[in-house]
Amino acid sequence: MSAPALEARGLMKQFGALIATDNVSFAIARGARHALIGPNGAGKTTLINLVTGVVPPTEGQVLLEGRDVTALPASARVRLGLSRTFQINQLFPHLTPAESLGLAISERNNSGADFWRIAGTRPGIVAEIEDLLARFGLEAEMDIPTRKLPYGKQRLLEIALALATRPRVLLLDEPAAGVPEEERQDILAALAALPADVAILLIEHDMDLVFSFATRISVLVAGRLFTEGEPDEIARDQRVRAVYLGEEAHG
């Protein structure tokens, strides 16, 4: 019985009197398609930050393929195979997609400290950049500075960058957020085409996307794991509706 790809045990995060994450435990299997949903302010992004190491937990552990990574900084976890995308695009405005991807790949190849060779010219890197550009439909824009790309393309690059690190576990923080209708399809297609052996945890508000993508869903409310189950169960669960309807009443 192999270890789950990603596991959280009793994660808790306290900011002064505010408990943002309250005793959260979950496990994500290899190749899983797992979604995390919950009303606004439930603490989904905080949870992602805890898991990826951007924020240290007040209590609890994070395990990556069975290995305890709780004490490791974010960049170390990336090297062990845990990558994420950000809710608000975190890109390199003046670098081109080709350069950004080339950078991610070089780092993964451990040639990131190479200070002599021209970036991206190690054999194989060009092929890999090509492959990623093709997967995400970014071929035409590959030599344009990121800041000049339309938002949808930037969002695609956001995901492509995370994928360039060849993660074992990929956390996607609202990948479709803010993307205009016309470009949404591209995002959905890209998500569907993600490698099968990568475990994916998707945070989303868009229920269509969630239900079409996920095979398992967790619901986070006020920092606590409310419930977890298959999409059908969750869809039929009255309490989940209440939590969301409650939010609509107030929100």
Partner: protein, 337 residues
């Protein structure tokens, strides 16, 4: 397979676009060389510009490439200068030896102080770098037995590779010496900027959060580039001491650090030539304005700075880019490593 080939070739061309030395670059360096030979009366000035250019290059490595704001580059400059000066005053006055030792000592100082830059905000970095430069200045002041204190050190240099005097009688040799050192170090920096290491620095500058999220060990990269930058600044300091045969306390002054930052900003940070051009512009401007109003040239420099910031540095850069083909080529290259 055809489409793939086309994309692949486009990709490679894109990634390698700045590798070759283009004719404006070659012309630039040849022009300097020519100036050294054809206007020998200005060799001292050219030497000063070359040294300032190297100093500015050192700051561009951390400021332009990695985005680290430092007001303490003078620390390394001063260390390099005093190292060469002290060695010479003890009789070890071979210029290249002094240069190497000066750069190495400065690099060591950079390596040791780099970890201080990693925590805290830009303000913290500013203060720490400033503080270190001033501490060294104070130390130099208090240890007059070593540094000559407020009077500075006077010494004489041996001949360059045993053949060429670089003192008062060897202005042209001095300028050539500085030229060669600057060119070599520039070529290395140019290569470095286009390497994966340089690209990672650009990523750290553009979005440190994401750089970490791609697995880049940002701390180590910053320490590495800071050490290299310190070595460059130390080399510049050593060159200055060796070619002018003086070392004095004002090398550690706030004004030095502020001026070199100005040079990098005037020329444009991040594309390596900016420091050189800024240094030339700064020194020429200074001489021109000083001739007109000797004590108040600083006022105009300050006004220039204020204007630059208010108008917006990037906007000025982009405006320039629209002006000429060469500047356009430069703007293509701007922003990346």
């Amino acid at each position: 397979m055809k489409p793939d080939d086309k994309l692949a070739r486009r990709l490679e061309a894109h990634l390698r676009r700045r590798e070759k030395w283009r004719w404006p670059e070659i012309a630039f360096w040849l022009a300097i060389l020519a100036a050294i030979f054809t206007i020998p009366s200005r060799d001292a000035l050219i030497n000063e510009i070359l040294i300032a250019g190297l100093f500015a290059l050192s700051l561009d490595l951390i400021l332009g490439l990695a985005g680290i704001v430092s007001l303490g580059q003078a620390a390394f400059f001063g260390v390099g200068a005093y190292a060469a000066a002290i060695l010479a005053s003890m009789g070890l006055n071979d210029p290249i030896f002094g240069l190497v030792v000066g750069a190495a000592l400065a690099a060591a100082l950079g390596f040791v102080t780099a970890p201080l830059l990693l925590r805290g905000s830009d303000l913290t970095r500013l203060m720490v770098t400033l503080g270190i430069a001033l501490m060294l200045g104070e130390l130099a002041n208090r240890n007059a037995w070593l540094t000559g204190g407020a009077d500075g050190l006077n010494f004489s240099m041996g001949k360059l590779i045993g053949l060429f005097p670089i003192g008062f009688l060897g202005q042209r040799n001095a300028a050539l010496y500085s030229f060669v050192v600057l060119f070599i170090l520039f070529a290395v920096a140019r290569r470095l900027a286009q390497s994966p290491f340089g690209l990672a620095l650009a990523a750290i500058r553009e979005n440190r959060l994401r750089a970490g999220a791609l697995g880049i060990a940002t701390g180590r990269r910053i320490v590495a580039v800071y050490t290299v930058s310190a070595a460059y600044a130390g080399a510049a300091g050593a060159l200055l001491a060796e070619t002018t045969q003086i070392a004095s306390l004002d090398l550690f002054d706030f004004h030095r650090s502020a001026n070199v930052m100005l040079m990098v900003i005037i020329g444009g940070a991040g594309w390596l030539y900016g420091g050189l051009i800024g240094a030339a512009a700064f020194i020429v401007l200074r001489d021109v304005i000083s001739a007109a109003t000797p004590e108040y040239w600083e006022f105009w420099i300050g006004a220039l700075l204020v204007m630059l910031v208010l108008v917006g540095r990037e906007r000025i850069g982009e405006a320039f880019a629209r002006l000429s083909p060469w500047a356009a080529a430069r703007s293509l290259r701007r922003g990346a490593a």
